[in-house]
C-alpha cells in the first residue's frame, strides 16, 4: 500500500536517461515491468468487460430500433460521469465490503467510462447499416436473428471496432488516476514524481503511458485491418476515400447533432 511515497526515492538530479537505463527501474517490486503488467491487465479487463456489457445489448436494441431516446439519455448521463470522482466514491464502499482499495473501484469507474461511447458507436453502426442490404436479407427469408448476426453486425463491425479502439486508448490514458486512489500501475511514477517533486519520474512515467497508449492504438488498428472481412474492407476503403471523412466521423452520436467522437466522453 504505497500511498504516500514510492518504494524507492530517486535522487532529484537523476536524468531520464539514467533512470531508464538503470536495471532496477525495470525489475524489482516497484519496477516498470510489474507496473506495466498491472496496467495492461486492468485495461484489458475493462475493455473486455465493456465490450461484453455494451455491444450485444446495443446491437440488439439498435436492430429492433428500441429505446432510442432512453439510450441517448443514458449515454449522455454516462459520459457526464467524472471517472476520478466515481472511482473515489467507490473506494470507501469497496473497503467497507472488504474488497480493498483495488481493483474494483477503478475497474468499475473505467468501465463506466468506456461503456457509453462503445454503446453509442455500436448503436449508430447497426442502425446505419444499408437498409437495402437488411431488406434484401429479410426478403430472402433470413430470421431476425440471422439478419442481426450475419448482415448487420458484419457490416457494422468496422465502426464497432473503431469505437473499441478509441475506448481502449482512452482507458490507457485514464488508468493512471489509479495510482492516486491507492493503487499502482504506470501512474505510480507520476504520483511519486509529484510526491518527491522529481520531474524525471513524472516525465518518465508520462513517456511510458504515452508509449503504451500509442502502442495500443497501433496494435488495435493493425488487428482491425487484418481481421476485417474482405467485402467490408472494400466498403471501408471507399468510404474513407471520400474527402473530409475520417474514422472519427463514424463514431458519432445518436440523438445529438454534433459528435466528435473525441468528444464521446473522455473523462479521466
Amino acid at each position: 500500500m504505497s500511498l504516500v511515497l514510492g518504494q524507492r526515492a530517486i535522487p532529484r538530479d537523476t536524468t531520464l536517461w539514467e533512470w531508464f537505463t538503470d536495471p532496477v527501474t525495470w525489475t524489482g517490486s516497484g519496477g516498470i515491468l510489474v507496473s506495466l503488467g498491472d496496467t495492461v491487465a486492468l485495461c484489458a479487463a475493462v475493455i473486455v468487460a465493456s465490450a461484453i456489457l455494451a455491444v450485444p445489448v446495443s446491437a440488439y436494441l439498435a436492430h429492433r430500433r428500441l429505446a432510442q431516446v432512453t439510450s441517448a439519455w443514458l449515454v449522455n448521463i454516462g459520459r457526464a460521469l467524472p471517472t476520478f470522482a466515481v472511482a473515489a466514491l467507490l473506494v470507501p464502499i469497496s473497503l467497507r465490503g472488504g474488497y480493498g482499495f483495488e481493483p474494483w473501484p477503478i475497474f468499475i469507474a473505467l468501465t463506466l467510462l468506456t461503456v457509453p461511447p462503445m454503446f453509442l458507436s455500436t448503436y449508430v453502426a447497426v442502425k446505419e447499416v444499408d437498409e437495402a442490404a437488411v431488406n434484401a436479407a429479410r426478403a430472402m427469408g433470413f430470421t431476425e436473428r440471422a439478419v442481426l448476426l450475419s448482415v448487420e453486425l458484419p457490416l457494422a463491425s468496422t465502426v464497432i471496432f473503431t469505437g473499441l479502439r478509441v475506448a481502449a486508448v482512452q482507458v490507457v490514458a485514464t488508468e493512471p488516476i489509479r495510482a492516486f486512489l491507492g493503487g499502482d500501475g504506470l501512474g505510480r511514477y507520476i504520483r511519486d514524481g509529484i510526491g518527491q517533486n522529481n520531474a524525471t519520474l513524472t516525465v518518465g512515467g508520462t513517456f511510458l503511458i504515452a508509449a503504451l497508449a500509442g502502442l495500443t492504438g497501433i496494435t488495435l488498428t493493425a488487428i482491425e485491418r487484418l481481421a476485417k472481412p474482405y467485402g467490408v474492407r472494400r466498403l471501408r476503403a471507399d468510404r474513407s476515400s471520400r474527402p473530409g471523412e475520417t474514422d472519427e466521423v463514424d463514431v458519432t452520436d445518436v440523438a445529438e447533432p454534433a459528435g466528435s467522437h473525441a468528444a464521446a466522453g473522455r473523462l479521466r
Binding site: 500500500m1 500511498l3 504516500v4 449522455n76 448521463i77 459520459r79 457526464a80 460521469l81 467524472p82 471517472t83 476520478f84 470522482a85 466515481v86 473515489a88 466514491l89 473506494v91 470507501p92 464502499i93 473497503l95 467497507r96 482499495f101 486508448v169 490514458a173 485514464t174 493512471p176 488516476i177 495510482a179 492516486f180 486512489l181 491507492g182 501512474g187 507520476i190 504520483r191 514524481g193 509529484i194 517533486n197 522529481n198 520531474a199 513524472t202 516525465v203 512515467g205 508520462t206 503511458i209 504515452a210 497508449a213 473530409g244 472519427e248 445529438e256 447533432p257 454534433a258 459528435g259 466528435s260 473525441a262 468528444a263 464521446a264 466522453g265 473522455r266 473523462l267 479521466r268
Partner: protein
C-alpha cells in the same frame, strides 16, 4: 488495515454543517476551474476554427495538434507542470484544462460550419447578404447546436478533470477527494466525489437547456 468504521463512515452528514464554508469554497473553485478554461478554450477554438475554415490546409495540422494535447494523460500534464516553475500556481491547472478543451471545441465548431447546407449558403449569397452578415445571421446560428454540444462535452469533461487536479492540490472538490484519500477519512472524499458528479450532470443539463432555448427551430423539426 484500513477500515470503514462507525467513527469513520462512508459519509457523516454532520460534516456538511461543520465544514459548509470549505465545501462551498470547493464548489466555487471547481466551477471557476471548469468554466474559465471552457471560456478561454472556446475563444481559442473559434479562432483556430476560423483559420481552418479560411485556409483549408490548416485543418489537418490544427486537429493533429489539438489531438496531441488531448492525449496527454491529465495526471501527467498536471504532474509535469507541477515540477516546472509554475509549481502550485493556478496556471499549473488552467493550462492543461484549457488545452484539453481545444480538440473537443474545434472539431465541434468545424462540424457546425460544415453542417450549413450548401444551398442555404448559396441562397444567402444570392440574396445579397455580405460575407460578414452571412456568417453571423446564417452560418453561426446553424452551427449553434454543434457548438453547444461541444461546450457540453467540454464542460463535463473538465468537471471530471478538475477533480483530478486535486492531485496537485488545485482541484476544487478534487481537493476534498485527495484529502480523504491521504487521511483515509471518507466523509470529505464521498462529498467531493458526489458533488463532482452532481455538478457534471447539472452543468450538462444546463447547457442542454441553453441549447434548446437558443435553437427553437431544431425542437420543432418533423424528423
Amino acid at each position: 488495515m484500513i477500515l470503514v468504521t462507525q467513527r469513520n463512515p462512508v459519509l457523516r452528514w454532520s460534516y456538511f454543517g461543520e465544514q459548509w464554508d470549505r465545501i462551498q469554497a470547493a464548489i466555487g473553485e471547481h466551477l471557476f476551474l471548469t468554466l474559465t478554461p471552457v471560456a478561454i478554450g472556446f475563444i481559442l477554438s473559434a479562432v483556430l476554427a476560423g483559420i481552418g475554415l479560411r485556409y483549408r490546409w490548416t485543418v489537418g495540422p490544427i486537429t493533429l495538434f489539438a489531438a496531441f494535447l488531448y492525449t496527454i494523460p491529465s495526471v501527467a500534464f498536471f504532474g509535469i507542470l507541477r515540477t516546472t516553475p509554475l509549481g502550485l500556481s493556478i496556471y499549473t491547472v488552467l493550462i492543461p484544462l484549457t488545452a484539453f478543451t481545444i480538440l473537443i471545441l474545434v472539431t465541434n465548431i468545424l462540424d457546425g460550419f460544415r453542417a450549413v447546407p450548401a444551398p442555404v449558403r448559396e441562397a444567402a449569397d444570392a440574396m445579397g447578404l455580405s460575407p460578414v452578415r452571412r456568417l453571423f445571421t446564417v452560418e453561426v446560428p446553424v452551427a449553434v447546436p454543434y457548438m453547444i454540444n461541444g461546450l457540453r462535452i467540454a464542460t463535463v469533461t473538465l468537471v471530471g478533470l478538475v477533480a483530478v487536479a486535486g492531485i496537485v492540490g488545485r482541484g476544487g472538490l478534487g481537493n476534498l477527494i485527495m484529502e480523504g484519500i491521504r487521511r483515509q477519512f471518507w466523509t470529505p472524499l464521498t462529498i467531493g466525489a458526489l458533488l463532482s458528479i452532481v455538478l457534471a450532470i447539472t452543468l450538462d443539463l444546463l447547457f442542454f437547456l441553453l441549447g434548446r432555448w437558443l435553437t427553437p427551430w431544431a425542437r420543432t423539426a418533423r424528423s
